[in-house]
Structures are given as C-alpha cells and as structure tokens.
C-alpha cells in the first residue's frame, strides 16, 4: 500500500439531483500510466476538478502520499505534487515560454513571493529551465511571446508548465486534443518520454494514444466506475464495447 501515490475513496459530487461523480475510488501507484476513459458526460472533467480542488466533493476523501488533501485549496495541492494540464490551453499569453517556465519553477521552489530577487537569479533553476525547453522542443521559441506561438508549440508549452511544477502525479486532460497531424508525432513522443517516477493519469478520447500509453484503464460511465483493468481486458470487455468503443470510435 505504501507505494500508492494518489488514492480516492467513494468520491461523490452532486449537482442538485445529478450525480456527476458517483462513488468513485481510484488507486494510483508510483510511476503509473493510468488512463481514464468514458463517453462524453461520464464525469471525467468533474473528477479532475475534484482531485485538483477546483470543486469540493459532496462526500469521500482524497489522499496524496498518505496525506488527506480533500480540504486543501488548489495551490496547496499543486505544491504537494498534484498537477494537471488543461484540455483547452491555459497559457500566460503576455509572457514568453522561458519566463513562464522560470516563474513556474520558482513558485514550486517556494521562491514565488520574492520580489527582491530577479527571475533567473539561481543557476540550477535556469538549468532546469533549459532542460524543460529542450525536452518540449521549445528552445527555439523561448523568447517569443506566447500568443505568437503556433498551436502545436502551445500544446507542448501547456504540458511543459505542468512538468515545471515538479509533479508526482500528473493529470493530462486530452493532451492530443486539436493538435494537427503534422505536429502530433512530436506531442506523442513527449508524452511517452515523461519521467518514469511520475504517475500519469491520462484522460483521452484518442484510443490509439490510450491503448499505446496506459498500463491500466478505468472506464467511467454516468459518474461511476464501470470497470478497471489492463488494456487487453478493457478492450475485450463487452460492456465497454457497448457503452464506449462501439460508438466512440470516431474520435480514434
């Protein structure tokens, strides 16, 4: 049990009479490659919002490395290593990729409130910045303003920001969404090359990506867990085919 990084037990979120999340339990071990799939409206985004603290659960608990984080505000969860990316890019349009990543790293290292030190003051932070820029193919555009970047680069920056938060658990919300075919390969490579000790939870409609990436898959339907298992088992499950794969294939 000690190897579990993120767990949630019997998580419930009600909006009025609707159970957006219904008794969901998840167990994410260290270094996991876990995918969360389900048809539209299955409650994937609600679940992410509950885990990251944007929404508070009606019932249930969330633990990160043994600590109960159910009541912590979003930024405190990030500082403890629970980080997400967004389905729609959420970037800082007025900053450059370099400024964005250096700022993010300094926040994560508890230097975010320092007004008297220049950003880029610490050499090892700059080094980490350069690593991230290289890893996400952003070195060439590091001094361009973010709003000038092409979509594929913006998508990469979206993920680089999350990684600059030095996550232990990374929630990827549809990383391949909207990426044009020409820039897709670059993105898939970076997803595949994420650090092995980081647990990754992937939410994705792209079945190629899900089945090539995930070691375990959880299927959500109407807010509840339908089933969970290794990819081969999920692919063979007739119930999954029925609710999802049968008519969800157009995304793949």
């Amino acid at each position: 049990m000690s190897d579990l990084v993120l767990t949630c037990e019997h998580l419930v979120k009600r909006f009025g009479g609707i159970h957006a999340t219904d008794q969901v339990s998840l167990q994410i071990p260290r270094g996991a490659r876990h995918a969360l799939i389900g048809p539209n409206g299955a409650g994937k985004t609600t679940l992410i919002n509950l885990l990251t603290g944007v929404l508070t659960p009606t019932k249930g608990r969330i633990h990160l490395r043994g600590e109960d984080i159910s009541k912590l505000p979003p930024h405190e969860r990030v500082r403890r290593g629970l980080v997400r990316t967004f389905q729609i890019n959420q970037l800082f349009e007025g900053l450059t990729p370099l400024q964005t990543l250096a700022m993010t790293l300094s926040q994560q290292r508890g230097q975010g409130a320092r007004w008297w030190q220049a950003l880029g003051h610490s050499p090892d932070l700059n080094l980490r910045c350069e690593q991230l820029l290289a890893q996400f193919h952003l070195t060439k555009v590091m001094n361009h303003c973010t709003h000038e970047l092409p979509y594929g680069k913006r998508r990469l920056l979206e993920m680089a920001i999350a990684l600059a938060c030095e996550p232990r658990v990374l929630l990827l919300d549809e990383p391949a969404a909207g990426v044009p075919a020409g820039e897709r390969e670059e993105l898939l490579q970076t997803v595949a090359a994420l650090p092995v000790d980081v647990s990754v939870v992937l939410i994705e409609h792209d079945m190629d990506l899900v089945f090539s990436f995930a070691h375990r898959i959880t299927v959500l339907v109407q807010g509840a867990v339908l089933t969970e298992g290794p990819p081969a088992e999920i692919a063979a499950d007739p119930r999954v085919r029925e609710v999802y794969l049968g008519h969800g294939d157009q995304h793949g």
Partner: protein
C-alpha cells in the same frame, strides 16, 4: 542565447533608462522657472506608476485609485500640522496609512468581475471624499486643510518659493520607487502577478496563491499612491477635497492608456504627454481643450499606440 542570459537581460537597466533619469534629475536646475510644474508632473507620474502595478501588471481595473492618493495627502498634511514637520517622517506615515487602507479594500476587489471592481473602487473613493467633507473639524471640510508648514528635507534643504527643493524631493522619491519597482516586476513575485493577469485559472493550477498575491500588490499600490498624495500635500502645503476626486482617478487611468500599461515607464510617459497636451492645448483654446484630448484618445485607441508613433507605417495594411 542561453536561458540565463535571456533572463538576465530583462533585469539590466538599459542605457537610455539611466540617461533619461539623469535628464529628469537635472530638470529643476535646467528649467528653474518650471520647477513647480516639474514636481506636479513627477507626483502624478508616481501616482500613475502605482496604478500600473495593479492595472497593467495584475489586471485589476480601478476607477477609484484617488482614494489612496487622497488618504496619503490628508495624512501627510495632518501629520505635519499636528504632530511633526519632518517631510520624510510624514511621508512614511502617509504611505503606511494608505497601505493599511489598501489592505482592507483589497478584500473587496478579490472577487467578482471587472465591473464589480470598478464599482467597489469608485465607491470607496466617494465615501472617503464625503468623509473628508463632513469631518470639517479635522480636515477643514470644503475649504481644504490649510496652513501646512513643512520642515526642511533631511533636516537641511528648506522648501523654497520657486519649488526647486520640492521638485528634487519629488524626483528623488520617485526615482527610489522606480528602482525598487524595476526590480520587483522582473522578480518571481512580479511575474506571478502577470501570470494572474493573463490567466487566473492556470495561475492557481501552478500553485500561485492568487488571493495572497493580489492582496499584497493592492496594498503596495495603495501605499505608493499614498506616497504620491503625501508628496503633493507636502510640496504644495495644502490638501483639499479634490485629491479624492473622480477626475483624478480617471485622469491617471488616461495617462496609463496614453503611456502604455504593464510598463513602468508608461506612467511617466503618460503623465508627461497628458500634462503637456493639457498646457499646450488649453493655452491655444482654453474652452475646448477636452475636445482635442478626446479626439486624441479616440485616435490613439483606434489606430493603436505602435502605429501612431510610426507615421511611416500608416500607408501599409494592418
């Protein structure tokens, strides 16, 4: 260029920045007959700079920033009149009191939309103006607070009739603030404010305590506005109800629009251009100067600052 070099180049003071400041500091000596105008513009520029911290860098719209300017002005005037005539001492108190007021008001601007914030900031300024009007035993009411006599700056430099000391005093304080802010805006703290301005949702998602940061910068901006107000009261020896006026809040917003927000020089440039336009146009046509100012603003907004400053690009397509 490496990441370290790129980041370091943002911090370094450019040569033209140093040159401009030398020129500014020499102005009271170069143009001694305009010393009063120089200190007036400097104080307004400092005020605009303080607004830029919350507007340009943090994305908080305010139509009541004069509340803090006024608070600083009355505090400095009252302090000099009743407690102690030393300018620097009084100025620190004025800044402190305004910052305190800012900290309280910041709770009102954390939530809601831009419209909510505009109304909250406007409301606070109106309340203070009316308080200063009603508490006439303390503030002199509509007559203003008169008979403020200041001691010498740093115990040595007496305020003179032509305003040279006042101009250097205002320039010196403003330079000090500028140097500190120049560092602040390229610090992790400064960049986290810009991140909040650009995308509050993501700022939160990378672990920035959004509310704490906004309270901090609003408090600082209020303190600096109070500093400007205090300078005005001290250099003119007078504080009146118009320090809280809506006009003042609106004018300073215009200056930032003219000079450019999210850029420390924007406040300075805006203040100089605005005041120059004012004196040039109103000397030429005293009754209709706001017409020409209005026309200038409409053009500035429609054409854009970049293009307006580059007439040779007007023929090309945008």
């Amino acid at each position: 260029m490496s990441a370290a070099n790129s980041l370091a180049s943002l911090v370094k003071l450019r040569w033209w920045e140093a040159a401009l400041w030398l020129l500014l500091l020499a102005l009271p000596w170069l143009m001694p007959t305009h010393a009063l105008l120089i200190s007036e513009i400097t104080i307004i520029a400092l005020f605009a700079m303080s607004l830029d911290l919350i507007l340009g860098y943090s994305g908080i719209v305010s139509l009541g920033h004069a509340a803090f300017f006024g608070m600083g002005a009355y505090t400095a005037a009252l302090f000099a009149k009743h407690l102690h005539p030393d300018p620097m001492f009084g100025l620190s108190i004025a800044m402190l009191v305004s910052a305190l007021l800012g900290a309280v008001c910041s709770l009102g601007v954390l939530r809601g939309s831009d419209l909510t914030r505009i109304m909250v900031t406007l409301g606070v300024a109106l309340i203070l103006q009316e308080l200063a009007n009603k508490l006439d035993w303390l503030t002199g009411g509509a007559d203003g607070l008169q008979g403020v006599v200041m001691g010498p700056v740093l115990g040595r430099f007496e305020f003179d009739l032509f305003g040279q000391t006042a101009a250097w005093y205002a320039l010196g304080i403003t330079l000090l603030v500028f140097v500190l802010l120049r560092r602040l805006v390229v610090s992790p703290f400064g960049y986290s404010l810009q991140a909040i301005r650009d995308n509050r949702l993501r700022a939160q998602a990378i672990g920035i305590p959004v509310h704490a940061r906004l309270v901090a910068i609003y408090t600082l901006a209020a303190g600096l506005a109070g500093l400007a107000g205090g300078l005005q009261a001290q250099t003119t020896g007078f504080a009146s109800l118009d320090v809280f006026g809506f006009d003042r809040s609106a004018d300073v917003l215009l200056m930032l629009v003219i000079g450019g927000s999210g850029w420390l020089w924007g406040g300075l440039v805006g203040a100089v251009v605005f005041k120059t336009l004012h004196s040039v146009i109103s000397a030429w046509t005293p009754q209709y100067w706001t017409f020409w100012l209005g026309l200038f603003l409409v053009l500035l907004m429609l054409v854009g600052r970049e293009r307006l400053l580059r007439p040779w690009t007007w023929g090309r397509k945008a």
